[in-house]
């Protein structure tokens, strides 16, 4: 359909749209206008039922993830490794000159993010930490969230912790953020009026359309999603989930998503890092 076709369709659409809008107005008026977000009861996964998203994949997709040659996520890990050891163009030190040629000094580091950054008084995740390093130690511009280079570096550094358990340890200063993340997870949102927990804690293992609902853990991110046909960050996944329940998503890297990332990291504690994982 061309652009002109869309314009032609408007006279037909308009009355229908108005009717729908009027109906929605009526519904919201009856419910007392704008309603405030409703929190659902807190539910938790017990340690023995905690399962990585890997468990909800088909056997073929599992095989794709575990074969380091066939797993396309490793393309980003390789790029990340090259960026890691490459000196900045304007001179100065590469990541590798501090952290070791193969990033030996960073094995296990990714399992502890996001963490509280006292200097800034905010949460910082691995993407943020990489950008902070670039600015403070390499005099480089921060990389845009979800840019290929930031994804590659994050994938490389996270992959150094492959198989190690997620072990985030929120400092007392991060408790507020943790509570905000937990509230986000248990708050209904969007036109579908669903909280994350209603699918990922209460109904995991059941079917949603053609898919099996996972427990919603972030231990494989950045992850190669078959739906994306590319590698993407955990925040991009949050955005997709928000859009899925037809809620307004938050910006990638925002405080809200960082708080949610922290809550999810505590929720996924002890699950092994699988980056770069394959997910549907």
């Amino acid at each position: 359909m061309t652009v002109t076709d869309h314009w032609r369709a408007i006279p037909v659409c308009l009355p229908v749209c108005l009717l729908v809008a009027a109906a929605l107005c009526l519904v919201s008026c009856q419910r007392g206008g704008t309603k405030s977000p409703e929190r659902v009861p807190r539910t938790e996964l017990s340690a023995d039922e905690r399962q990585s998203g890997f468990a909800f994949l088909t056997r073929d997709t599992q095989r794709l993830q575990t074969d380091a040659f066939e797993n396309p996520g490793y393309l980003w890990v390789e790029t990340g490794r090259a960026l890691f050891s490459e000196a900045p163009e304007q001179g100065g030190e590469s990541c590798a000159s501090c952290h070791g040629a193969d990033g030996d000094g960073l094995v296990g580091a990714a399992t502890q993010y996001p963490l509280w950054h006292e200097g800034r008084g905010t949460l910082i995740n691995l993407e943020g930490r990489i950008n902070q390093c670039r600015q403070e130690h390499q005099a480089l511009e921060p990389l845009a969230y979800e840019s290929e280079n930031l994804l590659s570096l994050t994938a490389f550094v996270t992959n150094l912790s492959l198989g190690l358990p997620m072990s985030v340890d929120p400092s007392p200063l991060a408790m507020d953020a943790l509570a905000r993340g937990e509230t986000y997870f248990h708050t209904r949102r969007g036109q579908l009026d669903l909280a994350c927990s209603q699918c990922h804690t209460e109904r995991w293992g059941m079917q949603l359309r053609g898919d099996t609902i996972s427990q919603g853990h972030g231990n494989g991110f950045p992850t190669y999603r078959l739906a994306w046909q590319t590698l993407g960050s955990l925040h991009r996944r949050f955005r997709d989930c928000d859009l899925g329940v037809r809620a307004e998503p938050y910006p990638l890297g925002s405080d809200t998503y960082l708080a949610l990332e922290l809550y999810l990291a505590t929720r996924a504690e002890t699950l092994p890092v699988e980056t770069p994982a394959i997910r549907r």
Partner: protein
């Protein structure tokens, strides 16, 4: 199209059937999708893959818009003589990328 991975056994016995694997990084844009403003994103695909064993084509594949991003191929050939395997991807615009591997046949 600038990043590829290939897998070739370094040694084989004459007459042995060997498994070859090839993965190339490419978005394989179909040309049927619209961007956020509804304009068509132009087609951008790798259209051909060839494997040459001592300059003789032993495997060839034509790729089409329905092929997923970062196409991965697994195929087999018979090890005949010591030499070089060339894996060559050709973009729709004619640009090529080649990766080479040596194999010793005993």
């Amino acid at each position: 199209m600038d990043q590829a991975r290939i897998s070739v056994p370094s040694t084989a016995t004459a007459g042995e059937v060997i498994e070859l694997r090839a993965l190339v990084r490419h978005p394989m844009e179909t040309g049927f999708r619209g961007d956020s403003r509804g304009r068509l994103v132009p087609r951008d695909i790798v259209s051909r893959f060839e494997c040459l064993y001592n300059d003789e084509v032993v495997f060839r594949a034509d790729l089409f818009p329905a092929v997923a991003a970062n196409p991965f191929l697994r195929f087999f050939t018979r090890a005949t003589e010591t030499g070089t395997l060339e894996f060559r991807w050709t973009h729709q615009d004619g640009e090529t990328l080649s990766e080479f591997a040596e194999i010793t046949v005993t």
